[in-house]
């Protein structure tokens, strides 16, 4: 008998025994447990607050020493040493449709949707019609590249100003809260979107002189810099999206429909706008975002039916949602995936 079989035999009586949840033998005080849970949560919150306070105080005290160190570091960097990579590992996953990865003009293979591959900041990602992929870093940066997209990652290797270059298509970003002095930006042909810990999407449509950028903010704040000036966008605000959003009659169209490809979307002018109550009642963005995030979470864990239900709820309850395009794309992707037995 091998070690595994022997150990399982030794554990057999433990594993075969039913678990007592009714307190017949193993009694537990539920009320006490709930108090413990609430107490632990409160204590953890207090610890975090103290830690934040200590960090601020420590930051002030360390400022002088930090300045000296920073000056020294800048001298070292300027003396020809390579930059420290801000994002040290990038993973490409949830690939569907046709996705290409290019490096120095060469096309590198991208594997199936169940695989996770490591990519570098030297890569460029290109998605075809009804295709997409998700790029994540260990630091918490999460970028969903949707169909007909082209994304260059070179700027992710530079600290403290990390960036990606979106040449076409659309992305949806979730950016972790960055330390003071660091920033993440999305550079498009006609605008730069600068963020500090937030969730937002950027769409580039048209080419050459007709190129347009649409920015939609789900959470947090972003700054959009363009030749027309600088704008600050808060949650629920958009920039340059007047005619880029899905029209009402497009509600039944699926993302496989090439007419929904960003290049076919009529160009928009790059100016700030907010959602108008006539299109959609105010204050529903959180609920919409919640449904969308729930669907994505369900999809990630393989619960495709729950993901489909959440997306359908989002589209039926909020047909004019800013997330409707993304939701339709996600719905089509979920429906294409085979259900696990």
């Amino acid at each position: 008998m091998n070690d595994e079989a022997k150990v399982r035999e030794l554990f057999a009586s433990s594993t075969a025994r039913p678990i007592d949840l009714d307190g017949r033998q193993f009694r537990v005080n539920r009320e006490r447990a709930i108090s413990t849970i609430l107490g632990a949560g409160e204590a953890a919150d207090r610890r975090r607050s103290r830690w934040r306070l200590a960090r601020v105080a420590g930051g002030v005290l360390a400022a002088a020493a930090g300045l000296a160190l920073a000056a020294s570091a800048i001298r070292t960097l300027n003396s020809g040493k390579p930059h420290v990579a801000a994002v040290d590992s990038l993973l490409l996953q949830d690939v569907y449709g046709k996705v290409e990865r290019r490096e120095a003009g060469q096309v590198l293979p991208v594997v199936g949707r169940d695989d996770v591959i490591s990519v570098t900041t030297a890569n460029e990602l290109i998605t075809g019609v009804a295709s997409g992929a998700r790029l994540r870093s260990r630091q918490g940066l999460d970028i969903q590249l949707l169909e007909n997209g082209r994304l260059t990652l070179a700027g992710l290797g530079h600290q403290p100003s990390m960036s990606v270059q979106l040449l076409a298509g659309s992305i949806r970003c979730q950016v972790p809260h960055l330390p003071a002095g660091e920033q993440f930006s999305v550079v498009t042909p006609n605008a730069t979107v600068i963020v500090h810990g937030t969730a937002f999407s950027v769409l580039v449509s048209g080419i050459a002189e007709a190129v347009r950028t649409c920015v939609r903010v789900s959470d947090g704040r972003v700054v959009v810099k363009s030749p027309e000036g600088e704008r600050v966008l808060g949650p629920g605000m958009t920039w340059g999206c007047e005619t880029v959003g899905p029209p009402a009659e497009a509600g039944e169209r699926l993302p496989d429909d090439p007419t929904l490809a960003p290049s076919a979307v009529p160009p928009a002018t790059g100016r700030e706008q907010t959602r108008t109550p006539a299109v959609k009642p105010a204050g529903t963005l959180d609920a919409e975002n919640q449904l969308f995030q729930t669907a994505l979470a369900a999809e990630r864990v393989g619960n495709l039916s729950a993901a489909e239900t959440s997306l359908e709820r989002l589209l039926s309850k909020y047909p004019g949602s800013l997330l409707s395009t993304d939701a339709r794309i996600a719905l089509a992707r979920v429906r294409r995936k085979p259900q696990s037995p």
């Binding site: 022997k6 150990v7 009586s13 025994r17 193993f26 447990a33 413990t36 632990a40 919150d45 918490g140």
Partner: protein, 218 residues
């Protein structure tokens, strides 16, 4: 890999968890948001969290400890406290609160076994001679029940005396039923390291059992 029924404990454990999960899904929040509500002092969230993870905690504690004892409730409370603290201290979200709770409960149970050994309260009066380590088969007579209890005590004692990391890995994988990837995540090591600990742990447990048998036979 044990069957799902074994992994989740029993049907009642599964039902409570499914009910809690359905309730959390009905109100449309995920586990991270549930924790946020717990931190905000929402009682309903603490109750939902309890229903969600207690079945996993119970399965781990009861399998490792096997016998009901006066400190079971304390161990449950300790597990909940460690669970909340560890999850909130992490920068990344845990994959599943239930799995994470199961890992922490296993750790707590093994700590308790080791504490009992140190305090000599638990095993001193027990006859843990090698002759007890015989598999129980056929009809369950009183002697056989006694033998089975002794065997369990011996296994518990040996687990409590093993290297903590190896004991935890063997219990999480072979007793609780987590797969290797989950075991690695719960013990915060790579899959390769978890595999290595599992192999060494099984070998060590078997060696100790056979040593005890040989000692009992003399």
């Amino acid at each position: 890999m044990p069957p799902p029924a074994q992994r989740s404990g029993v049907s009642t454990s599964g039902r409570a968890e499914v009910r809690a999960r359905a309730e959390v899904e009905r109100i449309g929040i995920n586990e991270t948001e549930l924790l946020r509500c717990v931190v905000a002092g929402e009682r309903w969230a603490a109750e939902a969290l309890y229903e969600l993870v207690y079945p996993s905690i119970a399965a781990s504690l009861q399998r490792v400890l096997h016998f009901a004892s006066h400190d079971y409730d304390d161990l449950v409370q300790t597990t909940f406290e460690r669970l909340i603290r560890s999850v909130l201290a992490r920068k990344e979200a845990v994959l599943s609160l239930s799995a994470w709770a199961s890992g922490i409960a296993t750790h707590t149970a093994l700590d308790a076994l080791r504490a009992r050994i140190r305090e000599r309260k638990y095993f001193q009066s027990e006859d843990v001679g090698g002759g007890a380590l015989l598999a129980v088969a056929g009809s369950v007579s009183e002697e056989q029940q006694l033998e089975a209890r002794r065997q369990l005590r011996v296994v518990q004692e040996l687990l409590g005396r093993m290297k903590p990391a190896e004991a935890e890995t063997v219990v999480l994988h072979d007793m609780i039923g987590h797969d290797l990837a989950e075991t690695a995540a719960l013990t915060d090591v790579s899959v390769a390291a978890a595999q290595s600990r599992l192999v060494r742990g099984r070998k060590e447990l078997r060696r100790r059992v056979e040593q005890r048998l040989a000692r009992g036979a003399k």
